[in-house]
Amino acid sequence: MKKPRTIVALLLAAIFVLSGMTACQTDGQQQQPAGQTEPAAEPAAEPASSGPSGTITIGETTEINADFMTGWTNVSPNSRIKSLIHGGNDTYAIDPQGQYQLNTRVVENLATADNEDGTKTFTFELTGDRVWSDGTPITAKDYVFALLMTSSPEFQALGANAIGGYDYVGYDAYLAGETKVFTGIRLLGEQSLSVTVKAEELPQYYDYLMAVIGPYPFHHLAPGVTLSDDGEGAYMSDEWTPELAQQTISNDSDGTGYRYNPTVTCGAYKLVSFDTTDLSVVLEANPNFCGTWDGVMPSIQTIIFRRQTQATQMQELENGVVDLIPGVSAVAQIEEGLALVDNGVAVNDTFYRYGYGLIRFHCDQGPTSFASVRQAIAFCLDREEFNRAYASGYAITVDSAYSLAHYIYQDNKEYLEENLIHYTLDPERAVEILEADGWMMGEDGIRHKEVDGEDMPLVVEWLSSTDNTVSDLLRTMLVPEAAKIGIKINETAVSSVLDAASRRGIRDEEAQYFMFNMALNFGNPDLPYNSYSLREEFWGGNYNNNYIRDEELDRITGEMYYMEPGNKEAFDEKYLEYIIRYNELMPNIPLYSNTYFDFYSPRLQNYDIDSLYDLRYAILYATLAE
């Protein structure tokens, strides 16, 4: 009787294990665009030599997610992929200098009108020879639909950021569902549309950014819906419902939602598959692509985005597993990559980061509310040495709100060199600045100042992150130097998980910490008004996160932002004024502005990148050697 018991036990255990096996029988699905068949049984033949050919594999250390439509997430590889599959048909395009230009491949004619009520209308006549990847003509309706859809309550109900038409007259009422008619968006003809920008958004130096519009395939995303304009504004028929939006955009149950599987696109490439198992993406050249703004068609047939780890990424380049690794900034990987370059296995291209790592101060409370203290702390750090230790020379030190990639720096290098305070390790100067501002050394070895009749010790509470090289270096290079001249920096190290939560929230009145090590990337174009405005709605959060109340900075950045377009000289003058004011105030101490490296196989040619002209654009001009 004992044997059957053992057999039953083993059978039960086996069933238990097999039940788990059954659970994983269905392997990771590869999303296939609807209508496409399974791959052929034999390896696909390369396309004819006249068209695009060859395959390039791009290594990505950041995980690619299933999101291929704007409105939800925006991680860097997905941003690249979205640009490749949806880009190219926007009304404006980026040129190799990183500047926006009217996309003459898309726009036949642009007319602007300043209206009496202070609004401004951009009227576009579009070229009529462009088609979607399924062959359907691209018309003005697709552009108008894109704006209506991404501003609609139906889109918002999908959890998306419904801000597509935020700048236009009538947005608020349209989003709120009060009206079906979007008065600021007009469908004027088969290839003609206009948008009218709200008066309160004007004037703006870069006002054309509010007229950068791209299309979405109306026929594919809104089947059965009609889009009309009776003279009051564009609107969609009642068939456009949350249910339809859910079905065509967000349906994830069978992988047909456009967000996850955009099958009808207009970019240089088409999404062939996203493998949910190993998170790789395959793109293929779109034969219906209209060409770049300067009329170029991509010459590489297939682009594969493949996940990598930093630890093995250069070995994968050496072994030919990947052909291109973009944006490498870690020292160990740069040196491994440069060794491959020395051996002729790889080629590299570099560009300056359009941003930097920094020490951020909260400037409205405590000792760091005094510019003298912030300047003194900047004079307590040998930033050149910091950079050598942190980035082994693969980063540079700047003295204000610019990177070496900024045109304003490149055009005014000498002026800035002469007029900026160059912060380096200079304890004597730090003491001079502090004493001139009334910070005197106390018996406790800490400086003090009388503020509003009360004694304020020079103690700076610093919130740092654990397991962070920048924190480690600041701890050994800055804190002891500051202590020598009577600045006590108290460190509280928290896990990066809690880091953000420990910072001051948007509406918190009291600051607990005053100094942070963080990083920022400038926008393109860089408009710092949001970051230094004194307006209440800009306070804290993502905007004035230095909590700095400086009327001068507010005035300069405001004048930059709300300047009439066209007068570049006046704009640049303000820009320089801003950089110099920032340098005096030191709301942030710039620490390191990295040099980024793209490493790639020598068979990839004509691949020219820059700080504002990255893989998304450069790959369209690249070729593969035989």
Partner: protein, 327 residues
Amino acid sequence: MAVYILKRLGFMVVVFFIVTMMLFLIFKAVPVDPVNLWLADTGANVKPEQYEQMRQQVISQLRLDQPLAIQYVYWISNLISGNMGYSGFHKAPVRQVVSSPIRATVKMNIVNLVLVFIISIPLGIRSAVKRGKAFDNSVQVVTILGYSLPTFITCILAIWLLAVKIPLFEMGGMATPNLKGSWLTLELDKIKYMILPLIVMTFTSLGGLTRYIRAAMIEALSLDCVRTARAKGLKEKVVIYSHAMRNGQITVITALTNWFIGIFGGSLMIENLFLWNGMGRVMFMSVRNNDWAVVFAMSMFYVLIALVGHLFVDLIYAAADPRIRLT
């Protein structure tokens, strides 16, 4: 038996609800603003008015403007109906975020489990039988090495040796992207990617179980019944596999079922270094990205697995050992 199972199922329901409440409160106490996470990608790219509007939208969508009790009721009713929630980081249903990783992890763990048991049971038995001899000492050294070397080092060494220096296997990933061919070709390709992480996983897992079985067998071999069997002149194989092994089987069953309960949890280090898109990596990334909806849902899933798993352990014990009675 049926009454026992029903009773246990009843307890499981109660325990499950208590755990859901506790976990809900714990996750609510984490000092992270879920709205900020939702809007993290938005950053300073939108105007403050837009940001505030989006903020209010998210608060309303996540029902953060409702009392805690209502939030719990909403969450638990969704969970019961199979809706595991919505990932703030991925902006996608949790089910969608975890479905592929969980399959990948289970697949890897099951193959690993089978391999480890196939190797460690005979190894443990033979080590016990040859206790103190060269074979036993060698097994001890090798298994201790796998057991004590940091997994990170083992992974890097394995990649360096078997994928870089002697390129027998792939460095990482789960399949060759854009590979075209027959079903068999595609499956073989997947297996090719699985081998190296599997070797590392098996190597690092062998130590514990082999030593566990060895200890159980040493104890079993010293039992009176084994001595009697030997005295009766039975063959050594019969003594070991029929008499001693029977007494050691509870150990094996305990190990097997405990491993099964852990089958849905991935190895963070192995998955990260070999780019195996599994649950260890997902959980780590979710914690790192403050994506508590995923952590929360998966914690609940693991609780459920543990509850069911322990019921199965008890049933298997009762089936294997006549001395155990379930009441």
